[in-house]
């Protein structure tokens, strides 16, 4: 699949997302476990930093923020001093960083703020200056 077709598909999905979102989430009807439902449409639907982290960020940074290493690495978020400045994780989420995609573009301002505030107060990080959705909005491309 090439980019143009991805873009076309995304556009089609976006254009029809409203109608789908109005429906009862039928996708969760047959879930085999008590696990959380998956998003519908082209934006993440999780709410709250813990859920966003567990269902999105943990894909690479792992459930406990420990990161992972293969031919290259996903940085650990445990005791990560780069999180001292709130602007850094906001920017990484909105603009991507090397191989990391700009996932914040599939999140609302509130969601980005929630998940940034979460990682900055979890995993041994103790940065109390919370980010507000308005800060995220101002930082968007």
């Amino acid at each position: 699949m090439n980019m143009s077709s991805i873009a076309r598909t995304a556009a089609v999905l976006l254009a029809t997302g409203v109608a789908a979102a109005a429906q009862e989430p039928a996708t969760s009807a047959a879930l085999p476990s008590a696990g959380p439902p998956m998003s519908e449409g082209q934006g993440f639907t999780e709410s709250g930093g813990a859920a966003l982290y567990a269902q999105v960020c943990a894909a690479c940074h792992q459930a406990g923020g420990e990161g992972a290493t293969g031919a290259a690495a996903y940085p650990a978020l445990l005791h990560n001093e780069k999180l001292a400045s709130a602007g850094y994780p906001v920017t990484v989420l909105l603009y991507g960083q090397r191989g990391m995609p700009p996932l914040g573009r599939m999140m609302s301002d509130t969601q980005v703020a929630e998940v940034v505030n979460y990682v900055r107060t979890q995993f041994g990080n103790r940065y109390g200056d919370a980010v507000a959705p308005e800060d995220v909005k101002a930082a968007r491309p």
Partner: protein, 535 residues
């Protein structure tokens, strides 16, 4: 257009005219291009010829995927000394098949053992080859990789929406026939009423109506409705038979309103796009056969496996790669050569200290990697063939699994089979699947898929799930270029920087396809060879 036709249909005259105009325009343009020979052209020009003596020049290649091995093969044939460093203990990179008995450990440590029966497999990465990917096809021919048709479009597979048609899967055949028929009827009747008088001559209008009747399955009244004309396209409620029960029963077409609001038409694009048009191919026995064949074609010991590159330096005389020898406890070693073709994914290369100029470094850092997840599911019997008469092809759904692909091999022979039970590409669900444990990915693929095939619940045996952002050797699926990033960085990414140049699907305009790995490598070694001969 008559108001009775526009009512409730959501179609405006402007839209219809635009559709026809666009179709006629592109068809006409294509005809002109074909007659001039342009549309036949492909970037692949057949086996490259690197004439001239490189006089023992050495090239270090990083990565034994299709790009790295293409470069190695061609440079070796031209007289270069080549060596490849490869992180994995196998060749192929993303060209890969998981078969019964294989184990796979993803980032985070979860290990899966593939429990598929003999002969069954999952292609976690590339899985189909368009007929116009001449490079891949030519290497398959030259390397003796047998191909068989990959069925992309199966009219009897399903289109499915959790909400549309109350979640009942619809056959691709009927969705396509009924959409085409309904729109042909609208356009034919609008034409007859004079709605196109300003744009289309009377003579052409008659031909247009004739074409719409012929291609849309319209009856003599230009209606698309239950009857022999539509049944020849959409099939029958009861197929024609023999003897006393022979008389066919025509089916009732779906209402246009239901087709439009049910959104199943979205799936039809997957059969129309250039890159998915017939004929597509797959290697017999799994896509991994290509990588295996490349590795066999190289001189023995060309590839050093278990080599994790940790640094790449260069000076006026040559290149030096530092790597950990993973088979020897991570011992630090170095490899040197006159030149380097680096075919590592940018996710990996961007983290390796690399002695290149700021422009290439910025380009290396500028490309995020797409997310993708595939789940292979083995079932006790091929119920899709036995119960539903689906032989190969793909069903599309708006459930998080997105697709179910039926095996394009081993048809009609009974026994077990492996479905591709999920294939996500970017979007929230791809990350959400990745964040789950492998076992939970499989469980969800079974649960979602059972909404389309209830037989899942009793026939499922075993599954395996590969989430590309957790693949240790790529940390992502494929380069996810934006137009802006490409405009700023692409040429710098592909340029020769001192004695280093890059190759791989990321260094192409057809990312995520194997063809691009091959084309980028051929382009790179051709330029490298010119540089070497000129020195």
């Amino acid at each position: 257009m008559g108001s009775e036709m526009a009512e409730g249909s959501g179609f405006s005259r402007r839209n219809l005219i635009a559709m026809v105009g666009a179709a006629a325009g592109s068809a006409a343009a294509y005809q002109v291009m074909t007659s001039l020979g342009f549309a036949e052209e492909s970037p692949y020009r057949g086996p490259i010829r690197l004439d001239g003596d490189p006089k023992g020049t050495s090239v270090l290649i990083l990565g034994a995927g299709l790009a790295g091995m293409t470069a190695a093969l061609e440079l070796h044939r031209a007289g270069y000394r080549v060596q490849i460093l490869e992180y994995n203990t196998r060749a192929g990179g993303r060209n890969w098949s998981l078969r019964g008995g294989d184990t796979y450990t993803e980032l985070g440590g979860a290990t899966q053992r593939c429990e598929f029966d003999a002969g069954l497999y999952l292609n976690p990465g590339p899985w189909r080859i368009p007929y116009h990917h001449h490079g891949v096809l030519d290497y398959c021919r030259r390397l003796g990789v047998a191909l068989e048709p990959f069925v992309q479009l199966n009219h009897n597979a399903f289109l499915h929406s959790a909400a549309g048609f109350n979640g009942t899967p619809q056959r691709i055949r009927t969705v396509k026939a009924d959409f085409d028929g309904a729109t042909a009827e609208l356009l034919a009747k609008a034409t007859r009423k004079g709605a196109l008088d300003a744009q289309v001559s009377k003579e052409d209008q008659e031909i247009l109506i004739e074409a719409l009747r012929s291609l849309g399955g319209l009856d003599k009244d230009l209606a698309y409705r239950a009857g022999p004309d539509s049944a020849e396209f959409r099939g029958y409620a009861r197929d024609p038979g023999g003897g006393l029960s022979a008389r066919p029963v025509d089916g009732e077409p779906m209402a246009l309103h239901d087709i439009l609001t049910g959104r199943l038409w979205r799936g039809l694009q997957n059969f129309l796009l250039y890159e998915f048009q017939t004929t597509m191919f797959q290697p017999v026995g799994g896509m991994g056969r290509i990588g295996e064949a490349f590795a066999r074609a190289l001189p023995p010991d060309t590839i050093r496996y278990g080599a994790k590159v940790t640094g790449l330096a260069q000076d006026a005389h040559g290149v030096t790669a530092t790597y950990q020898d993973l088979g020897q406890g991570g011992a630090i070693r170095q490899a040197q050569a006159d030149w380097c073709v680096c075919a590592l994914p940018l996710t990996v290369l961007s983290q390796i200290p690399t002695q290149v100029g700021p422009k290439m470094k910025a380009a290396i850092d500028a490309v995020p990697y797409a997310s993708s997840v595939k789940v292979g599911l083995q079932f006790k019997r091929r119920f899709w063939e036995e119960d539903e008469h689906i032989f190969g092809g793909i069903s599309y759904t708006d459930l998080p699994i997105r697709q179910i692909s039926y095996p394009s091999t081993g048809y009609n022979a009974g026994g077990k089979g492996v479905l591709l039970g999920a294939y996500t590409w970017n979007g929230p669900n791809s990350y959400e699947f990745t964040a789950l444990s492998p076992a939970e990915r499989v469980r969800r693929a079974v649960a979602y898929g059972s909404q389309i095939h209830p037989q899942y619940r009793t026939e499922f045996e075993t599954g395996i799930a590969v989430a590309w952002h957790r693949v240790p050797f790529t940390l992502g699926c494929a380069g996810d270029w934006t137009d802006a990033a490409r405009a700023e960085h692409y040429d710098n990414l592909c340029a020769i920087d001192g004695r280093i140049m890059l190759a791989g699907e990321h260094a192409s305009y057809i990312p995520a396809w194997q063809e691009s790995a091959i084309l980028s490598a051929l382009d790179a070694v051709t330029r490298l060879h010119k540089r070497v001969l000129a020195a």
